[in-house]
Structures are given as C-alpha cells and as structure tokens.
C-alpha cells in the first residue's frame, strides 16, 4: 500500500542507501503531502534514521534522487530543519542552553556573520515555545533527557523552517515532555508546516500522525494512518526478517561490489 500524492513536499525517487557498500535501504519511492504530521515507523535497524538523513543529503545515496518543494535539496536548505537524535552529541560541551538554541540561526546568518540582536530574540522565543526560557543560562551538561530534547526542538524552531525532520524526538523523554512536544507538532501543522518524525512506538503512532511510512529495509507502506496501520501491513513490516536481502547486502560489502553498475 504505497500511496503517491500530487504536489508533494518531499519526493523520493528510487533511493538506495548503503553503509560501507552494504545497502540498508533498497529502492525507496515515496511522496509526502504538505502540511501533514508524518511518522516513519519500523523495527530496529529498518533504516528509519537512514531514510531521513539520506533525504536531507547528510548521507550519500547509492542511487536515486530527492526533491523537496520540487527543488534539489541544496536550493532549499534554509527552509529545512533537522532535529538529530539526542545521543548524537556530547552534552558535556561547554555551552549554555541559549548558545545551542542560537545555533538554529546560524544557517540564515551564513558564514562569518555574528548573531544579531534579532537572532537572540528569535532564539529566546523558540525557548519560550518549548517552556525552557528559565533554563536559558543553564549549562547543557546539567539537563535531563527531556530537557535536552526540548533544547534541540527549540533550536529547530529558531530556524523558522517549512519542513522539519526529527529523529526519535520521543525516545527516552518523560510524559510531560512527550505531551508538550506533540502539542507543539500539532501547532506547527496548523501553521501549514510539514513534520516528519522517526518514531518507534506503535501504540501512540495512530494517535499522533496523519500519514505513516512503514519501513523495513525497503518501503512497506506509505499513506494515511488509518489505511496503513493495519494488521496486515504491520505483519509485513515487523514479521519475518528478509534474510536473503541482508545476505545479498553482506555479499556486496564483502566482494566490494558497487550498488549500481553505472
């Protein structure tokens, strides 16, 4: 059940991504509708993070291309925001909460330019939106997991983008933060923004998202939540590992084969 839409915000065409020559995502064809809250769901190692990283051109693709707002990614970088996994950085870095949120403005500032007063205002507003204004001067090493996630969200909000990619924003956060985040995502959707979220909890998925992408090394399904989150689709995604597929992948790596003949 892979549904394509007209005038998509994100268009992924025949995308294959490999790590060390081993393909972890095979030939993904995908379109996403504007103004929706999209959940990317699948088991561990299904390539969920890989998919959004490849869409944002943070990982090289072995084949295929991606268009966002019908443009190549390089043209629309400042309309895109990325929230990496919380664990991807060292939180013992000498910086304050405000410093990190201000980084959300760096893209608009470009190289060399120092943050202006307006950028500081924007960063402060972003902090208020996640309810962390009281923590502006706090050292990031002193934050709890939920607070770290909020800081990352605030940084993304400060970017003022049109499309947001979030890698597991709900992983390891407290209930209060989870509720706050989903409220925020809904507000963003109401403002016409598109939010794509890597998510691992099936239970809350049907409640949170209006479009769901099911992934397990290949695209299993993409469509409106109620049509995709069915028993049959979930069995296809979670049931039975594709042993042959990963064996072929291993072979490509061992034999140093290219993923495409070219």
């Amino acid at each position: 059940m892979i549904l394509q839409v007209d005038n998509p915000v994100v268009e992924v065409h025949d995308l294959t991504v490999s790590y060390d020559r081993k393909p972890v995502l095979w030939g993904v064809d995908l379109t996403l509708p504007a103004g929706s809250l999209v959940g990317v769901i699948g088991p561990n190692g299904a390539g969920k993070s890989t998919l959004i990283k490849a869409i944002m051109d943070l990982l090289p693709a072995s084949s295929g291309y991606v268009r966002i707002f019908d443009e190549p990614i390089k043209q629309v970088r400042n309309r895109i925001s990325y929230v990496p996994q919380r664990e991807s950085v060292d939180w013992d870095f000498p910086a304050s909460v405000f410093d990190v949120v201000l980084m959300g403005r760096y893209g608009k500032l470009g190289l060399f330019n120092r943050p202006r007063k307006a950028d500081r205002d924007a960063a402060m507003q972003a902090l208020e939106k996640v309810g962390m204004q009281a923590f502006a001067d706090r050292q990031i090493s002193q934050l709890s997991g939920g607070q770290q996630q909020r800081v990352f969200l605030a940084r993304a909000l400060a970017q003022n983008a049109d499309i947001y990619f979030m890698d597991e924003p709900f992983a390891g956060v407290d209930i209060a933060t989870e509720t706050a985040i989903i409220e925020l995502l809904r507000t963003m959707r109401a403002q016409g923004k598109t939010v794509i979220v890597v998510h691992h909890d099936l239970q809350s998925a049907s409640e949170y998202f209006d479009w769901v992408v099911l992934l397990n090394m290949r695209l299993v399904a993409s469509g409106p939540t109620e049509q995709v989150l069915t028993q049959e689709m979930l069995e296809q995604t979670y049931g039975g590992k594709l042993t042959v597929l990963s064996k072929v992948g291993d072979l490509l790596r061992k034999q140093e084969f290219p993923a495409r003949e070219r």
Binding site: L58, R77, Y82, V89, Y106, L111, P115
Partner: protein, 427 residues
C-alpha cells in the same frame, strides 16, 4: 635572583622579543588546541607534531638553508601528509583510528630522526641548531624566525576568532552543521590546517616530542574552570602564555636546558592544580561537598534525636544528657559532642549544666527532619509497594536531601497524611 630581575624588567630588547614570541606561539596553539580537544582529536595533534620533523629535515636537505619559510613549508607538507594518511587508513581498512595514529606517528618520527642524524653527520656547517626542533629552544627565537612565526601565530588567532561560530558548531554537532548547509568538509579542513600550523609554529619553542602537550594541556586545564567556550579559549590562551614566558625565562637563564620539557612541566602543573582546585569539577571542591554533607547529616540526626525524645515525653524543650541522646542511636561520642557544640554555636540548642535542650529554631528543624523521614517512608510504601519494615533505612538518607519544593510535592501526592506506615504521627 638578579637574573630573574634582569629578565622580567625586559630591559634587553632580545628578552622582549623572545618573550613576545613565546607568548604568541604558546597561546595560539592553546587556542587551536581547545577546538582539537572538543572535537576529540587530541591524539591527532600528537601525530602531526611528530610528523613535522621529517618535513623540517627534508626542507633543510633540499634547500641547504635554515630559512624559516622553507622549514615551515616542509613541516607543513609532512604534517598534512600524516593527517591524510591517518584518514585514508581509517576509512579504507579495518584499522581503527588509534592504531592508525600510532602507526603514522612512529613511521614519520622514525624517518625524521633518521634524516636528522644523517644531517648532523654530514658535516654541513649550517646544520647546527636543527636539533632544537626535537625539544625546543625558545631563546633561539630571534630575527627572521621570530617575525615569521609570530605572524603565523597571530594569523591563527585571527582565523579562530573569525570562524568562532562555525568551529563551535562543527565541534558540537557536525550533522546539524551539515543540515543547515555549512561546508563541513571545508571547515574540518580548516581546523586541520589550523592544527598543523599551530604545531609548526609551536615546535620552535617546545619541540616536536612534547608539542602535543602544548596543544592539549592548556585546553584541558581551562575546561575545568569554565562552562563557556569563549572563556575556555581565553583561559587556555592565558595558561599557554604563562607557560610560554616561563619557557623563555628558563631558556634565557639556562641556555643548556631544553625549553620544551620546562614548558610542558609548568603547563602540566597548572593542569594538575586545576584538576584539584577548580570549583565544582575539581577534586577538592568535590571532597568539601562530601564533607559538608557528612556534617549536615550528623547535625540533623542530633536534632532529630532531641526532637524524638521530646515526642516521647511530649516536652520538647527540656534538658537531655548526652547518654539519653545517644541511647536511641549509636553515634560515636566525640563526633556527637563536636556536632552538639556546633549546633549550640548556630543557636539550634542550648547548653545547660546537666545537658542540652532544643531552642525554638532547633525544634522546628528537628521536626522537619522527622516529618521528611516519615513522609518518605509513607511514599515508599504507597508508591513503591515496599513493606513497612523495609523503608526505614532508605528514609534515613533521603530525609537529609529533600528540598522544600519536593516536600510540598510529596505532601500533595500523599494527600497531606497524618500517620506514617508505622502508625506514628507525622508532625
């Protein structure tokens, strides 16, 4: 002593130049080192430092002069080559980065020593002084050398300030930097180039063998004192500068001494002191905090005992002898007496001929500890479903750490209870 005054009066122009040069070299490499440290590439700095030696020797062999420009160029080329090799080995083979660094470092340094030895035995008169690159000689930093190396050092400082924002983001969150379209590859290249340059100018003062310490140690020491990157850079620069001056002084007063080891010893001493005395992160501060906790626990326990004795007789302000106080709980007598004396000084208890009695304030504080103890016991039995005979030990510690806000929260969650799990009244 007279040497000390002579040096630090900076009367001699030569001394001034050597000092300025050492300060610039040491502080610029310390500033660059901050980013190397935060990017977790400290060892790479060490590899570059060693890999610079064959470059210097080759440049000398090929040109036959000790022109600082040419030596710098040679150093730069092999320093860079070593970094490319490390990256290549790590990405193209199964060898991990630490192994690759070890391999490259030793190979380059080995070749360097080989070339140096052959130059020294070649009978070339111009070669004298090349060996200072091994352990450094700040006092030789004069004339053209000084101008060239100082210019590079200043250039390093300016570049770091110019790219402050970009380098900060690169070190903190590289993927995010990439996602907003920063040229991450080029920035990485820039930082690498800065590192190589820092090493190249620093070896004049410290020498290749110990250069890594000049790059990393000031940054590591500075990290203890601050949580702000800007302050960290400044502190590292100051620490670097200080060790630079010391190095120049040693090099001037004891010409036979190699400068490098001295600088490294000084800077390491600062690092050790930082490790011990820095606020919050330092070892002494942590020890003091533990001691403070211990006395707080003792004092609150004594107040609690006095309060509990009061509860028994429904009379909180009578005198209790030491034996009565300690009858409920085994506290070593000397500790108890010291604690009581301190509580008396603080005004929580009064001393009478036949014992001690709570003051009004002491009663309030003792009551609070007892209340927290019983509240926590109740919380454990209700929320963690622990048996009521298992909760006392835990509450003994927790009663000292609960803040007023947490206390309020506990009261709310437990719905303002009157009795603890042992059916004793919660005061």
């Amino acid at each position: 002593m007279s040497e000390f005054i002579e040096f630090f009066s900076f009367g001699d122009a030569n001394i001034r130049y050597v000092t300025i040069g050492s300060v610039l070299l040491a502080s610029s490499s310390a500033v660059v080192g901050c980013f190397t440290l935060l990017r977790k590439r400290a060892l790479v700095g060490d590899a570059v430092a060693h890999a610079v030696l064959p470059g210097v020797c080759l440049a000398f062999i090929l040109s036959g002069t000790k022109n600082p420009f040419i030596l710098l160029l040679g150093a730069f080329v092999t320093g860079w080559l070593s970094l490319i090799l490390i990256d290549y080995i790590t990405s193209r083979s199964r060898i991990k980065e630490d192994t690759a660094i070890g391999l490259v470092l030793s190979v380059f340094f080995g070749i360097g020593i080989l070339l140096l030895t052959s130059i020294q035995h070649s009978g070339n008169a111009a070669q004298s002084g090349l060996d200072k690159f091994l352990f450094g000689k700040a006092a030789s930093l004069v004339g053209e050398d000084l101008v060239v190396f100082s210019a590079v050092a200043i250039l390093l400082l300016i570049t770091t300030i110019l790219f402050y924002k970009e380098l900060k983001l690169l070190c903190f969150d590289e993927t995010f930097a990439k996602s907003i379209g920063f040229p991450v590859r080029s920035l990485e290249l820039l930082l690498t180039t800065l590192t190589v340059f820092a090493v190249v100018v620093g070896i004049q003062a410290v020498g290749v063998v110990l250069m890594a310490a000049m790059l990393i140690t000031p940054a590591a020491a500075a990290r203890f004192w601050t949580e702000r990157l800007g302050v960290m850079l400044l502190l590292a620069a100051i620490i670097g500068a200080f060790s630079g001056i010391t190095g120049a002084f040693v090099s001037y007063t004891a010409p036979a001494m190699p400068t490098g080891p001295w600088i490294v010893l000084i800077v390491s001493m600062i690092a050790i002191l930082s490790f011990a005395f820095a606020p919050k992160r330092g070892w002494v501060a942590r020890m003091l905090r533990r001691r403070h906790n211990k006395t707080q626990i003792l004092e609150e326990n004594l107040l609690k005992l006095l309060y509990q004795l009061g509860e028994q007789h429904e009379d909180y302000f009578s005198n209790r002898t030491l034996d009565t106080i300690l009858s409920r709980r085994n506290i070593p007598k000397r500790e108890a007496l010291a604690g009581l004396a301190k509580l008396k000084r603080q005004g929580y208890i009064k001393r009478h001929a036949e014992g001690w009695a709570l003051t009004q304030e002491g009663e309030t504080r003792g009551k609070r500890v007892v209340r927290l103890h019983r509240l926590w016991e109740l919380y454990l039995t209700q929320y963690l479903q622990l048996a009521s005979d298992h909760v006392h030990e835990d509450a003994e510690t927790i009663e000292h750490i609960i803040t007023p806000e947490l206390e309020q929260k506990l009261m709310e969650e437990l719905n303002y209870p009157a009795l603890d799990p042992h059916q004793t009244k919660i005061p």
